[in-house]
Symmetry: C2
Subunit: 209 residues, 2 copies
């Protein structure tokens, strides 16, 4: 069975960078934006729209059901549902290609039968604000307060998106195999140790099979 690593993360924690660098270190592909792009291409949607359905629109259709999943068809309009289901297929398609790292999109839940190594990346608010400020483009001018509000909103949307698929709570350590606090850390310096952990974990898993 393939060695699949999923990366769930708090907004601003550096989880995306961690996933990308980890994939490089392990010499496997990393799927992140690629998921949205492939869904958009196959369904004939604009990638921006797909991205919005996946995270930003969920709460509008699914406001109070975290921890109480309903059937998708009862809670989401057809077009959004189409995107969510297409994402699921694309993730499964990528996972079927072999070893990889997948960032976000509840891949940990969708690929449960492939027993991936599931990482959760988080950080304290000061570190997340600093990271966001560093990567902001010249056009972006958020105050710390605005950025904090944005962060909380996105994390809430991620939790809501996850609640579509599972009762395991987003960000609850029990849902993951390793939870990495990146506060005050340069992601790149942690990568070789995380890659070593992943390698040891997969070896252990294979020994059990």
């Amino acid at each position: 069975m393939s060695n699949i690593i999923t990366v769930s993360r708090e907004f601003g924690s550096g989880g995306r960078e961690l996933g990308k660098r980890l994939a490089e270190a392990l010499n496997v592909p990393c799927y992140d934006h690629e998921i949205i792009e492939m869904v958009a291409k196959h369904q004939g949607f604009d990638p921006e729209y797909v991205s919005q359905v996946s995270e930003k629109e969920i709460q509008a259709f699914y406001p109070s059901t975290i921890g109480n999943r309903f059937s998708l068809s009862h809670t989401m309009p057809n077009q959004s549902m189409q995107v969510v289901l297409a994402e699921r297929e694309v993730i499964k398609h990528f996972a079927a290609q072999g070893d990889c790292v997948i960032v976000g999109r509840c891949a940990d839940v969708l690929l449960r039968e492939k027993t991936p190594l599931n990482l959760f990346v988080y950080a304290d608010m000061a570190s997340k604000l600093e990271r966001c400020a560093q990567r902001a483009t010249a056009e972006e001018h958020f105050s710390a307060k605005e950025m904090q509000k944005k962060m909380k909103k996105i994390d809430k949307e991620r939790a809501a998106y996850r609640a579509l698929f599972t009762e395991d709570r987003w960000g609850s350590k029990e849902s993951y195999h390793l939870c990495i606090n990146t506060s005050g850390m340069e992601i790149k310096h942690l990568i070789s140790a995380i890659a070593a952990y992943a390698t040891a974990w997969f070896e252990e898993k294979k020994a059990d099979e």
Copy 2:
């Protein structure tokens, strides 16, 4: 500044073994039972009594205050307080000797000014029950249900003990730097990766100083 690693853990997760093996891998001392023994020796108590004060008696004196710390002197009788305060001194004494691993006893909180690397070790219930069954002596005959009850009680006592010192919640990932899920894993196979993580983390910390 010394490189100090603290290990907090759920009962049955293998955290004690992880601490011991990690210390061996890093060639530094591991303090665990040594804390209780030194407190007992210095205070003239029986080690079993010291161990009971630290975990088992706390809740009796401190039943409803998790998250709402009161001053120790208002909530604990003199002798128990004496033990808790002596533990604190012993932990600080060990930490002053140089690099080390300290298991339990809220060392992460007590040594905050030394900015230790704080690990939390946890596992799913099935794995914890299996681990407990493996290490049970011939005299111990707990059913799975009894063992589960015992586990929950001990973890609750640990949370209560922690609440004496801090408002950071025991077991909440935000309180730690790395949370390690040992479900289905042989601890010994994860050690070199965790040692590598610790080394990278301390290097990063030093670069920031």
